[in-house]
């Protein structure tokens, strides 16, 4: 085998398994601790309405995180997640409102469109043999620009009531039904990466492309598949956000869709997915998003400067990546001994 260890695949007794577990357990402890502290300090935090609002945000941020996670695993990244998400829901919004297609058909159309835009990123990355950074930087501008030109920056705000009501369902513990959709997506991803051939090929290609190629893994195809999957997940997040907003808004992810970048990187990076590729943690990404959502919601509830939340999230990301680096360093030393 290659000397490059693949955490989580060294067997349940390997030292890497313990690290992965501790990463996720750590996130869970911080999140639970934060929930307890905020419930005590901020009276509104555990109100039914806030739980509902929080889980709606969480459901969307989890899927945005997944959308980035599936490209990080290839060692690449996707700056265009927001631009793809918005472009896809504008197609979906058009299909529902203008073409009058059934909701399910429109949603599938939006997902397929997102997947196609993502796959285009993958194909360009492979064909041009450059890092996906520059490809997705360009397509972020391209997709968003085309979307604005085609829609004239107009929203689709007369969506069918049944679609909008999907986001309003509450389930037990006042949680938004959208959270279950995100959990199902997470379970499917977990199954894909741990129990299918293509999933294992993706992990192998991400960890060491040349070794994978020599073992007969179609590395190029895994890259296109991952980017396509990322596009579809971005479209899914976009559909949930559209249902929540009640309209397909060109501005819902900010200028060029860049507002999604911070949540997209925070969740997987906090959850232990490495930027170098080859590893991922579906549960970690979920917990990473949960921690971020709880902390930012709690700070808003405490009313300690609503304008400072973004700066705070930036500090969390910086601290997280530095700590992760430190941990890798310590682990490497231990392994030598």
């Amino acid at each position: 085998m290659s000397t490059k260890a693949i955490p989580g695949r060294a067997g349940p007794k390997g030292p890497t398994f313990a690290v992965l577990a501790s990463n996720e357990v750590g996130l869970l402890l911080i999140t639970v601790g934060a929930v307890i502290v905020f419930s005590y300090l901020a009276p509104g935090f555990d109100s039914p309405f806030n739980i509902y609002a929080l889980t709606r945000v969480l459901a969307i941020d989890v899927v945005i995180g997944f959308s980035m996670m599936v490209v990080l695993v290839t060692g690449g990244l996707n700056l265009a997640v927001g631009a793809i998400g918005v472009s896809a829901v504008m197609v979906g919004g058009w299909a529902m409102q203008v073409a009058g297609l059934p909701i399910i058909v429109s949603a599938l159309l939006a997902l397929a469109f997102g997947a196609a835009l993502g796959a285009l990123n993958g194909i360009l990355t492979v064909a041009m043999r450059v890092h996906s950074f520059v490809v997705t930087l360009a397509t972020m501008s391209l997709f968003f620009g085309a979307m604005i030109v085609l829609t004239q920056a107009e929203a689709f705000n007369a969506l069918p009531a049944e679609f909008v009501s999907l986001a309003k369902l509450k389930t037990w513990f006042f949680a938004s039904s959208m959270l279950y959709a995100s959990i199902v997506v997470g379970l499917l991803l977990w199954w894909l990466f741990h129990h299918t051939l293509i999933g294992r090929q993706i992990l192998a290609a991400g960890a060491n492309p040349s070794a994978a190629r020599l073992s007969g893994v179609p590395v190029e195809r895994t890259i296109v598949v991952c980017h396509g999957l990322s596009g579809a997940l971005a479209a899914f997040a976009g559909l949930m956000l559209t249902a929540r907003n009640g309209a397909a808004l060109p501005s819902m992810a900010g200028q060029l869709g860049m507002d999604w970048l911070l949540p997209a990187f925070l969740a997987p990076v906090l959850g232990g997915t490495l930027l170098t590729g080859g590893t991922l943690s579906v549960a970690g990404t979920f917990l990473g998003a949960a921690m971020v959502t709880v902390l930012s919601n709690g700070l808003l509830q405490l009313q300690v400067g609503e304008f400072w939340v973004q700066a705070f999230l930036g500090v969390i990301l910086l601290v997280a990546v530095v700590l992760d680096r430190l941990r890798a360093h310590v682990m490497a030393k231990r392994r030598v001994r």
């Binding site: 041009m128 520059v134 391209l142 920056a153 700066a311």
Partner: protein
């Protein structure tokens, strides 16, 4: 090698031809292109964009990237405007404070990337959120309106079609050109970007060079932010929000290799000029102004594809 071949091989010659052809064609198609006012408006945007592009270019030179260029520029802009409005700080001191914001931001980026060895992408994404978040935290998303008249009139001043702002960015552009070509540090930046290990083995203080590049990038972004305040006549918190694409597009069109080690100041400036020309053409020819985003994306892809074609891997 003949002189013509030499010219053809430079990064900037093809761009200069493309720019000249484009400018002549636009002038013929739309005579208002050559009106004094249109040229002035174009050159004003050009002045700011040169600095934004150079701010990214010095980081591309060391083989990294800086997502926080706009966030540093925005934070410097509102600090510059804020200290003048709130504390009535004299203009030269305010400029100095704005520059210090750029130095501090760049130092943070440089030190963290160097010490941790982390990908500059994720570091500058985090600092982008920190700088932009601090900007929003300080301003609560409201602009500073009370800018001294001297700053305002400087932002509007022009000789015919030549904005005063271009004196500042032109001088800085020349300084960066000299720095990259003639100074030891400038050559060290390219050496670090070209081959990190070789640079280390040749005794180049890599850490110092990386931090210096980020500090320079931060200062260039800060100057761009302060010039934007002068041009807009207010300390707008959204300054810098739309800098990212152009900051990469211009150096890449100008022949920079994103892996590091090769950048061209002249190419970058011409890259900005071509983008400004396209932008202006879209406006004058009544095409949807938002189409510029689309065109910029396509241009980046084309430039990268072309560079792969010029030197196959």
């Amino acid at each position: 090698m003949s002189a013509t071949m030499h010219l053809l091989r430079t990064d900037w010659f093809g761009l200069l031809v493309a720019f000249a052809v484009g400018a002549v064609a636009l002038g013929l198609a739309q005579p208002s292109f050559l009106s004094t006012y249109n040229l002035y408006v174009m050159l004003t945007a050009f002045s700011l964009s040169i600095l934004i592009a150079l701010s990214q270019m010095v980081i591309v030179a060391i083989g990294q990237l800086n997502l926080s260029v706009g966030a540093i520029g925005g934070l410097a802009a509102i600090t510059f405007a804020g200290v003048m409005e709130v504390w009535s700080v004299p203009i030269p001191v305010a400029i100095l404070i704005g520059l210090l914001v750029g130095v501090a931001g760049g130092t943070l980026n440089g030190v963290v990337t160097h010490v941790t060895g982390l990908n500059a992408f994720v570091v500058t994404l985090a600092t982008l959120a920190i700088f932009k978040g601090t900007n929003i935290g300080i301003t609560e998303a409201q602009p500073f309106y009370e800018i001294p008249d001297a700053v305002k009139s400087f932002g509007n001043a022009r000789f015919g079609f030549f904005p005063y702002l271009l004196f500042v960015s032109g001088a800085i552009g020349i300084a960066v050109w000299v720095f990259m070509r003639r100074s030891v540090l400038g050559r060290q930046l390219l050496a670090v970007g070209g081959n990190l290990n070789a640079a280390k083995l040749s005794g180049i203080p890599v850490g110092r060079v990386v931090v210096a590049a980020h500090v320079l990038s931060g200062m260039l972004a800060a100057v761009a932010g302060m010039l934007a305040v002068a041009r807009l006549q207010l300390g707008q918190p959204t300054i810098g929000d739309d800098w990212l694409i152009i900051s990469f597009a211009a150096p890449v069109i100008g022949g920079a290799v994103l892996a590091g080690g090769h950048v061209s100041v002249a190419g970058t400036v011409l890259g900005v000029a071509i983008i400004m020309l396209i932008n202006n053409a879209l406006v004058l020819l009544n095409v949807d102004p938002y189409a510029v985003q689309l065109v910029l994306g396509a241009l980046i892809l084309a430039a990268v594809a072309l560079s792969r074609f010029r030197e196959p891997a």
